[in-house]
Symmetry: D3
Subunit: 145 residues, 6 copies
């Protein structure tokens, strides 16, 4: 087990985008969008949780390098099935930010779950996946349709 040495790699601009779908009852989605969840503003809390989790990724994923994130953006958009989370993370560093984007997507979705679980315990988090990465030696990767 080791955290592989990236010291020889150059610092380059890198981007990663991850998405996830939190499936829920239509009524739960409507409550969230209408701001009627008793615990407070679910979308604001989810976005903030995603940003904070991106910064904590090296504590959460054991072999992740600690890196200086230059930007994080989390959005949540309604779909028929529930809420789609999208996270974009940027850095200028020696290693990519895929894990930061995926971790943030999970944290944002779980925060929604936490705030709404008393009314919809059956919500399911699906399709947590990398959509895109660019920068670094391995270059650009884009999920195919």
């Amino acid at each position: 087990m080791k955290m592989v040495d990236v010291g020889e790699k150059p610092k380059t601009g890198r981007v990663a985008v991850a998405t996830a779908l939190l499936r829920m009852l239509p009524d739960t989605r409507e409550r969230i969008l209408a701001g009627k969840v008793e615990k407070g503003d679910v979308l604001a809390a989810a976005r903030l949780a995603g940003i904070m989790a991106a910064k904590r990724t090296p504590d959460f994923v054991p072999l992740c390098h600690p890196i200086a994130l230059s930007g994080v953006e989390v959005t949540l958009a309604p779909e028929d099935a529930g809420l789609r989370v999208r996270v974009q993370v940027k850095t200028v560093d020696r290693t990519g930010v895929e894990m930061e984007a995926l971790t943030a997507a999970c944290a944002a979705a779980l925060t929604v779950y936490d705030m709404c679980k008393s009314v919809d315990r059956g919500m399911v988090l699906d399709a947590v996946q990398l959509e895109h990465k660019s920068g670094g030696r391995s270059g650009t990767w884009q999920r195919e349709e």
Copy 2:
């Protein structure tokens, strides 16, 4: 936004079980099971990451209460589609451990992703879901088939 007051609730034994499915290429699954992943023992790392993440849940999910976990167990089992993560968390406290179980399941799966992403960047984390909870005022909940 508030962390709701649970001070009036009694401390009772509580259990939560969450599962998740990390979909991957068959070849990736075989490498993991054969212990041939360059970064080290994936299953051991994932189990440990899950346990540690369960303890960090209140940092990860903003409105979660800090609670004294009495036990955490993480297992990973191969399926045709990839690896199924199963987490059981127990406590004797005033609030449930659903979020701890779900957070641990995400951390275990993302750790697998991290250790294998150089060979299979397209892995997808699906079906992160609560299976069972018991204890506390709201009683037992069991996911239906």
Copy 3:
């Protein structure tokens, strides 16, 4: 230097309330209230930051005991001089939650500062103070007018 032993003290219900005043330009306050700050919803972020900081207090104040918070509530209200932060923390434990309430008040106010500093770097955080505590051997304390 020591973290004093509280093992002999009984677990009792405890409450602490702290307040603080973040002084700012009237225009800054209006932007916040109108939701026109570029970085996002300031009040939601501040409330969440306060709640999360309350949970992290033992990392922040070295001799604080780690305790199981049962509830945290953070509110921000406009005044002529800026925004008044009010935090209420509850627990059922062996030691009080004054430090958690004060730490949360600072975190909430600093989060406002952070999100608005590009337009009002001169904001001042004043009057961070305990208003009330109850529970425990030392009983109730109330700040006099």
Copy 4:
């Protein structure tokens, strides 16, 4: 809500200085200066708490970038009204260290409060404010008298 992207900004030397005034009873100040506080050396604990908190700022202020602090210095000086905390933080990075300096000032002051609260619960933290910042695109800012 987003952590704004600073990846295009150059890494430059940056300094921030923040101060705060912890108001207390004269007797409390004398006990601290005489080293007669039961919990231990208050000034040493406060300085260390400030340094450690500066490093934890991104956990405490949600939208703060994680940055590599190059130096932190915390001093506490007696005044008629109590103790004045002064923090200087330096970095060579893409974003400033104002939040780190302000966070450290709060942590140092709250540590004093914590160690002395059994004898002076009415202490008030006032005038937590940025005094100076330099470096970066927005240049030097100096609080006016």
Copy 5:
């Protein structure tokens, strides 16, 4: 790998004592005792680091349960060979505090090393060991001479 379930065990008063010996050059020890180390008060920093590390033990030792420490005390005493660290940790909980005491002893000793390494890089940390534990099902254990 699992964090074993302790939910069935009763909460009882528990104590653990650990010690360690940081071997150093006599001149280094004298500088420390005379308060002449450039980075500041070494003994105060070491005591505080030990206390804070005790609280962070579950982050540091993966299978440790998070427990509510009721008291921590760290002392450092000079010996011919260097400095002897002694840590006592107390709790009223379902599991023991041996790991907390050992972790705190390491943190206190490493803090001394850190502050003095520029003048004595060869310092060696020896004899980190449990001296005593009491409470809980396994009862009292005392290191034999």
Copy 6:
């Protein structure tokens, strides 16, 4: 007390190697090597704990600078007296990684202790020491035999 300013130092490649010896009963060592410890795979857990602790060093050693580790490798090898831990940490930064290597060595060894303490509470951690450092203004240092 201060975290000394390293902003003027250039970023250079740096390596540190630390070792430690966890003394134990021969039977304990054999159980570990045979994978017969009830709590799980001790060597995997110890390696992972070491890597994660290296990343947390600035939280553990108060005056340590937060730095971007580029690689961490932890090995454990059996000896007559027990297990020898060896940690190598690399960075490209303004300050060395000696403390990260020493902290990781302690965490790895304490994790072994934790997982085996029910059968061998008398284990002793000895000879936690820096073996080698290179890079930076103070150049190479090598422990003499």
